[in-house]
């Protein structure tokens, strides 16, 4: 493990962005993701990049739109309240088919909420990141290693599909240190002949735009975008599983929740309960097929969330409500304990298939 270094999640994420060729970062201070900005404020000047602290989250995401329009890799990061402000820009990024990487190190809400870890922006990320019909690629790291590798992957997918990739992390992933390997591999290059770089008198002008007042045309733009989304749902689903193959009870969780759930599953197995974990790494596209397949042998599911129960809807949709799905949740910055998850697993094991 000599090539591994001990890094905070926020810093590993920032370094991975640089390794992915990102040379432009725009942000605004907010806990618990400020280390990303602090790290890049130091690093960007050394690699000839731009670090700019914007006047607001809104300005920051629009600066991102500017760099993305110019065809370069660009990132912004924030935490929940700041992401709300960026929502306008997220919609424009989608409408303009621009690639960008946006990081949300979530904290408890709504409103100003708190500063402790949360996953209560799940709906925002997977459903309602802004006005209009659109999706973002949503990647949920569950380790410091993934804070780095999913940033690298996110930039690649963003370029490949010309859309926003969001890293949906939580305060734990941002603040935690773990050994991480920064061996990220090659940066793939994609055609960006659509970008605004100046016509040089050699081509018609490029326009980056989300406006069409012709409903027939706007409908086509949307349909085309959803064809792309269908491709992504087919090709880019990522998930991890742990002891899930023969499990009677499938725990579904992401981020820090999945880490806690793993402890509970080990304990459940020690007690003779066949429990397993399916951990979505992409929250959109959601691993629908994997869950549907698991529903064939599992008698019940448990959704472990740091929210009032958001992902549970995707689980129920994925398995077409074929099996009961129990909810194990903590909110407001609280994290479920392994004991709480274990209790739900036991309950699911007892009541599975015969929901009261």
């Amino acid at each position: 493990m000599a090539d591994k270094v001990l890094m905070k999640g926020n810093e590993a994420l920032a370094e991975a962005a640089i390794m992915a060729g990102c040379r432009h970062y725009f942000g605004y201070p907010i806990t618990p993701q400020t280390e990303v900005a602090a790290y890049l404020a130091k690093r960007m000047p050394k690699v000839g990049g731009t670090f700019l602290q914007a006047e607001s989250e809104i300005a920051a995401i629009n600066m991102v739109i500017g760099v993305a329009s110019a065809g370069k890799r660009v990132m912004t990061s924030s935490s929940s309240p700041g992401i709300s402000l960026k929502s306008e820009g997220l919609s424009y990024l989608a409408g303009c088919d621009l690639p960008a990487l946006v990081v949300n190190v979530q904290r408890g809400g709504p409103g100003l909420g708190g500063i402790q870890p949360s996953q209560s922006d799940y709906f925002h990320a997977t459903r309602g990141a802004g006005h209009g019909d659109f999706h973002m690629l949503v990647l949920a790291p569950a380790s410091v290693q993934e804070m780095a590798s999913l940033v690298f992957k996110g930039f690649d997918l963003a370029d490949k599909y010309r859309m926003t990739a969001m890293i949906l992390a939580d305060g734990t992933m941002g603040q935690m240190m773990e050994p991480v390997s920064l061996d990220m591999g090659e940066v793939k290059q994609y055609d960006k002949s659509w970008a605004v770089t100046g016509t040089k008198g050699a081509r018609p002008h490029n326009i980056v735009n989300s406006l069409s007042l012709l409903p027939e045309e706007l409908e086509q733009w949307n349909l085309k975008r959803y064809e792309k989304y269908a491709e992504i749902e087919k090709n880019e689903v990522m998930y991890d599983s742990f002891m899930a193959e023969d499990a009677d009870v499938i725990v579904v969780s992401f981020g820090v929740g999945a880490r806690v759930a793993r402890n509970a599953i080990v304990e459940a197995r020690a007690k003779g309960i066949k429990a397993g974990l399916i951990r979505p790494i992409t929250l959109w596209p959601f691993p629908k097929q994997a869950l549907k397949a698991a529903a064939a042998h599992a008698k019940a599911f448990v959704s472990v969330e740091l929210s009032m129960g958001q992902m549970i809807e995707d689980i129920e949709l994925s398995i077409r409500c074929f099996r009961p799905v129990l909810l194990c949740r903590r909110v407001g910055g609280m994290i479920p304990t392994p004991e709480e998850v274990l209790a739900k697993i036991e309950e699911a094991d007892k009541t599975g298939g015969n929901e009261a």
């Binding site: 006047e55 993305a68 110019a70 065809g71 424009y92 326009i207 980056v208």
Partner: protein
């Protein structure tokens, strides 16, 4: 012999502006500056939300259509991505002086090396004539039907005066397009602003007092008279800041 032709930087398409609207003049002045400086191939324009929302179809250079008020932030991104590009925004009064106030002030504060063309016609045109941040006291609009009442909605924002206190800003000038003399002066100011950007001198904003016959409820010629009699006294023309004026030396 050709004595008059369309600037090359303007696309050969029909503009959607109302009869008598001065956006056409301002577009032309911007295009002429681009032509004369020979920068079309490396210029990126940022269009606003407002009457000039379709500006991206009218200029032949690469264009980005920004969200309402965010053009200076988008321009910042474009410029930082490729500093060799010449980047301008084209914004109206609602876009620049209401919803985009923060982006305007802070791009000036950073002395972002961009050119802002600010078209001030004292009204929201595209949405049908509502009160703008620059609507004059007493001026009747759809949302100030009894005239702008300063006691309840406050006073117009004087953008050049405001930004003249921003240390970072390099060049601020207010011009008008109500007569030939003023149009020529406006053209010169716009060209100078682009030239400053080419020379790396930083943020410039040219405020162009313009007319909106449709929403003012006036004929085009009466609208220009109204501009002269009402707007120019409230928004005096002239250079509000020029760090590189003779003796200025960039300070």
């Amino acid at each position: 012999m050709i004595v008059f032709e369309k600037p090359k930087a303007l696309a050969d398409v029909k503009l959607h502006y109302c009869p008598g609207c001065t956006h056409g003049i301002v577009h032309r002045l911007v295009a002429e500056a681009i032509d004369e400086l020979g920068i079309e191939g490396r210029t990126i324009g940022i269009a606003p939300v407002g009457c000039s929302v379709f500006a991206y179809n009218y200029f032949n250079c690469d264009m980005v259509e920004a969200a309402h008020g965010r053009a200076p932030a988008v321009a910042t991104g474009v410029k930082r991505a490729n500093p060799d590009n010449i980047v301008f925004t084209y914004q109206g009064d609602g876009d620049l002086a209401a919803i985009g106030t923060a982006e305007t002030v802070h791009s000036a504060a950073r002395n972002e090396n961009i050119t802002v063309i600010f078209v001030n016609n004292a009204i929201y045109g595209m949405t049908g004539g509502q009160m703008a941040p620059t609507t004059l006291p007493g001026q009747i609009t759809q949302t100030s039907p009894y005239g702008r009442d300063t006691a309840t909605v406050g006073y117009p924002i004087k953008v050049c005066e405001l930004l003249s206190n921003v240390t970072g800003a390099t060049y601020l000038e207010r011009v008008a397009v109500n007569n030939v003399k003023n149009v020529k002066a406006a053209g010169a100011a716009i060209k100078k602003a682009f030239r400053y950007q080419m020379e790396g001198k930083g943020f410039s904003l040219i405020e162009v007092l313009s007319s909106c016959p449709t929403n003012w409820g006036l004929t085009p010629d009466k609208a220009l008279e109204w501009l002269e009699q009402n707007m120019i006294p409230y928004y005096p023309l002239g250079v509000y800041k020029d760090r590189y004026a003779e003796g200025g030396a960039g300070k």
